[in-house]
């Protein structure tokens, strides 16, 4: 049981991390000049996007 939950948590973390990395890369492509604040804002926006991506995926397949 614990093994299964651990596995599920790992999968969830992996999914979120993959989305976060892809979206953060996309943010770096969209902006023109890169500085620290830009990176921080981009990382948080990518995190919001990753959460929404996972929530949307679960909402559609969970039935």
């Amino acid at each position: 049981m614990t093994r299964r939950t651990a596995r599920a948590a790992l999968l969830a973390a992996g999914e979120l991390l993959a989305w976060w990395a892809a979206l953060a890369l996309l943010w770096l492509v969209l902006i023109s000049t890169v500085d620290t604040l830009e990176r921080i804002v981009g990382a948080s926006c990518a995190a919001a996007g990753a959460l929404l991506a996972r929530a949307g995926r679960r909402a559609v397949t969970w039935r």
Binding site: W19, L30, S32, V41, G49, L52, G56, V60
Partner: protein, 253 residues
């Protein structure tokens, strides 16, 4: 009655046409070289380190006008919420699950976060490049509705707690007002851009309060659009009149 309406329309139209022609005759020529207002606006915007002059006009030089526009949107959405509420003779039917073709569903799930990120990018860079709170907020709100288009209404309802968006809407309006009042407390004027340092030109932190006001407007517009569309969707998908309920229910299944 019909005739009266026509006469009224003609009189009103003629008056409007006369005023428009009179205004057109006094306009400066199209594509001229002299822009007295534009030059002053650009100068003021550059002196406050705001790269996008339009953002400077909207959120600094004429931030009070934007407050009015924001209140209009807020009041309009409030009116729609009141008008489109579930009435006594209406009942709520569970929305039916829909089977959407697989590529369309995958596209919706893929574009959903990309559109949200683009909306946030447009909001955050309002003072640097074309865009701002309104445009980005609408894009972010539209992104959420890809779930309805690519799957069904139940999927959208699962990621959209409506109360949160209603609260965010009000909080964002309050945030704009608080930022304005902070100017008064700091000893200048309502919504005056003197609170924060102007920052380095053409970076995310430039423009003083412009990015903060932009973010407030972005939050307000995004949640207002979500709330508005939620009530339209409720009416179009869920809410049914109870008259002839049984036959209609049988027909719909």
């Amino acid at each position: 009655m019909n005739r009266l309406r026509l006469v009224l329309l003609t009189v009103g139209g003629a008056g409007l046409a006369a005023l428009l022609v009179a205004a057109c005759l006094r306009l400066p020529d199209f594509g001229g070289r002299r822009h007295p207002y534009g030059d002053r606006a650009v100068h003021a915007s550059l002196s406050r380190h705001t790269a996008n002059t339009i953002a400077s006009v909207n959120f600094d030089q004429r931030a009070y006008d934007t407050l009015g526009e924001m209140s209009i949107l807020f009041a309009a959405v409030l009116g729609c919420v009141v008008l489109l509420r579930q009435a006594g003779d209406e009942r709520r039917a569970r929305p039916e699950p829909a089977e959407v073709a697989r590529p369309v569903r995958r596209y919706a799930l893929l574009v959903l976060p990309v559109a949200l990120l683009t909306g946030l990018y447009v909001i955050a860079h309002g003072q640097l490049s074309p865009g701002g709170g309104f445009q980005g907020g609408v894009v972010a709100a539209t992104a959420l509705h890809l779930l309805y288009l690519g799957a069904d209404y139940r999927a959208l309802e699962r990621v959209r707690p409506l109360g949160v968006y209603e609260t965010t809407d009000s909080l964002a309006v309050a945030a704009y007002l608080v930022l304005g009042t902070a100017g008064v407390l700091a000893g200048t004027a309502f919504l005056a851009n003197t609170l924060l340092p102007y920052g380095t030109f053409n970076t995310l932190s430039s423009g003083g309060t412009v990015p903060l006001l932009n973010a407030a407007i972005g939050m307000e517009v995004a949640s207002a659009a979500v709330v508005l569309l939620a009530h339209f969707l409720d009416q179009a998908v869920e809410i049914e009149e109870t008259t002839g309920e049984r036959t209609e229910g049988a027909h719909e299944r």
